[in-house]
Symmetry: C2
Subunit: 434 residues, 2 copies
């Protein structure tokens, strides 16, 4: 029978279970590298995902492996970590156990719950079928299929009205993801697909960005929101603000009486915390997130921590934003707290250090808010690009992403314009590829 390469971790040291291999979970595991603990990192997937570039996979700029790396590989040299690919069914705080789908259970001395958020339709789950969201690599590949297939359907469609409908795109939600998707999609229609079709002119595609609030990128200063809007419009995106969506169906997005026609709709509007939080038996906020104490533990159970998008932390009267740097900082802080507790001390309160806020819009278009320093346009775009390549996990990924981007920059081409899967999830219309 197979034998482990070395004795399993000594059972007598405290057991730390980390659920979720995102930024919070991974940085917490790393923060405990030299602590006298054994760690089990549980994730339902086998990889850490560099979420900030997920929209690039959806828009065929990068391939899935460019922005993901196997958790086992990242942590292979950290001998006190076991990576377990499994789905967590529930947490039992009283018994200090994590129940896995399939019946297994893991006892823990310390638990970090960092399963993040998923997209939410605010109780309108019927919209999901018409307006898929973007949270996982599988979401991204499904979205890529939808976006690219829409142009194929338009090309094949004899009826002009139907054809035009296939070229109507709407993105719901004017946050960073919505802005990135809208800008990139407009670029694909105007440049990437040029000369490739014979019956349609892809550049006539209409890309609409629909935001319920008064401005796009609400987390940025108003001036940058205004700049972002202008840059989007320059790329050919129609920006609709103060436009709360009241319905989404096969015809498009309904704004009260008004219909914004769109055969292809993408949901970038809302997120809700992972449902696992409910099994903690503590009160949650409206978005289902877990209000945590200053040291990121939960009131009732000081040995259970919550970090990343699943946690809601107030700081200076404002919630800490659900961004990668915040998740990394929380993960590191939880590791620090556990180390302190093991040493007989107590943790310090978590303090979020805001290093700035970036959003990209499209080629040579981005906005950067570094507090005192705010800028947009080409410089901001280069700043965004360098920062994101720098933070990518793994040297190889940096290399391939830079290669893909350099290629895309000079050729206007996109590396990953491959339609995968059966296309069963593409909207109604002539039967697709099989």
């Amino acid at each position: 029978m197979p034998q482990a390469p070395q004795a399993a971790l000594p059972p007598e040291v405290p057991h730390v279970v980390i659920v979720g291999g995102g930024f919070a979970g991974l940085w917490a595991a790393r923060g405990l590298a030299h602590a006298p603990v054994r760690i089990t990192l549980v994730d339902r997937g086998n990889h850490h995902l560099f979420q900030p570039l997920l929209y690039q996979v959806a828009t065929a700029g990068l391939s899935a492996p460019d922005i993901a790396a196997p958790l086992r590989h990242i942590l292979r040299r950290q001998r006190n970590v076991e990576v377990r690919m499994a789905t967590v069914a529930a947490i039992d705080p009283a018994a200090k156990r994590v129940r896995l789908a399939g019946g297994d259970a893991l006892g823990f001395d310390y638990l970090l719950l960092a399963t993040g958020a998923t997209h939410a339709y605010f109780g309108n789950d019927a919209w999901a079928a018409h307006a898929p969201g973007l949270k996982t690599l599988d979401d991204a590949l499904a979205l890529r299929r939808r976006l690219l297939t829409a142009f194929e359907r338009a090309e094949a469609e004899p009826d002009p009205t139907q054809r035009a409908a296939w070229l109507d795109f709407a993105i719901v939600g004017g946050g960073p993801t919505g802005v990135e998707l809208a800008g990139t999609l407009a670029e694909i229609a105007r440049h990437t697909l040029r000369d490739e079709f014979r019956r349609i002119e892809p550049a006539t595609a209409r890309v609409r960005l629909i935001e319920a609030g008064p401005r796009v990128l609400p987390s940025f200063p108003e001036r940058l929101s205004e700049r972002a809007r202008r840059q989007l419009e320059r790329l050919g995106v129609e920006v609709l603000t103060d436009a709360p969506v009241t319905g989404i169906d096969a015809d498009g997005c309904h704004l009260g009486e008004r219909l914004v026609p769109a055969r292809t709709v993408v949901w970038a509007a809302g997120v809700a915390a992972s449902p696992l939080a409910r099994t903690l038996g503590v009160p949650l906020d409206r978005a289902g997130r877990v209000p945590v104490r200053p040291d990121l533990s939960i009131g009732a159970h000081p040995d259970i921590f919550v970090a990343g998008d699943l946690a809601t932390v107030q700081q200076g009267g404002r919630p800490v934003p659900g961004v990668a740097p915040a998740a990394k900082q929380m993960g590191r802080h939880v590791a620090r707290t556990i180390r302190a507790r093991l040493g007989g001390g107590t943790g310090t309160p978590f303090r979020y250090r805001d290093f700035g806020n970036l959003a990209t819009i499209g080629r040579q278009a981005a906005v950067v808010d570094l507090g005192r320093l705010k800028f947009s346009g080409t410089l901001a775009w280069w700043f965004w690009l360098v920062a994101h390549v720098f933070f990518l996990i793994g040297f190889r990924n940096r290399l391939t992403v830079m290669l893909d981007w350099t290629w895309a920059y000079w050729t206007w081409q996109r590396a990953a314009r491959i339609i995968l899967g059966t296309g069963d999830d593409t909207p109604a219309g002539p039967p697709g590829p099989s």
Copy 2:
């Protein structure tokens, strides 16, 4: 309404319909670039696939876009081609029409049917669930998920017998694909996954290659088959020859009385022609391929041609092999014949030029048969590598593939070890990631 960038192709010139964007179809389209015809290339996918490297996607060495390029993009400058992404339901030779799924139809003056082959279970379709095959990018991603998930299941499995079962792999079929898969899988188990697991030793995985005939790589000279076998065994593959599989189920492969245990089985044994051939109404051979006349047209309908794996052509008493170079040559020949007919002439008989036969086995292991010149081992491997990179479609793909391979060579790592999809198709066992 959207207008085509230029007038649609003049309807008065002869219409050539090509079904299938593989090597035969794509090379035929290119061969007609300057002919006075309008061409419609129909494929159910949006991309041309470099099939010879498909096993690398299945074994996580390359990502899907590395070996595929959108047909529209490849042909964007050839103005007499329209690419249509659609599934062909049937051919009506008498009416000279191609019926598409969804009701549309395309009339043709000349037709090239080049839809290739799919994997076949010789009437044992129940085996498909236990032993998936490898023909499309989706097959490759599903197979990647199965192979990588098996190690994850083994790591999570407390029962030693069950754990060992998850580390039993069998590949059925000793042709080039089976040999490539077996060799690469052994390499992954012994090198790529080293140090990444805590409870299992991936190197203890057993990889068995099961071939019904007396030797692997039957299309090669016996001496090279023998070398291939030795190289496989050096990589840690158990090679079983004269071992016809009589059954495949959840326990493994049955060879008559004997059971070769395997929780993960891959089918690389048999291919059958695409079922579309049946709608031609002409006699087919046992594998469902279309026997063609010397000019690759079919007897009853001289304006209908069949090329690539779908056609069976005898030459010097031996069938022309189902390999990429043969498909390209057939495609070019069909183009030549159509050009000759348009000029009032007649076609010449097709002659297959065999430039040699390559098969890779694993790191520094391959066999090359150039007729007079036969060699194996490191030199053969480098020869195979250069040849395949050279023939890859698109400069960018060459670049990224070379990068991925260089990386893999020095680090033993594999770029694309990302498990995508729900894993619904993984074999029975503890519930997987969702």
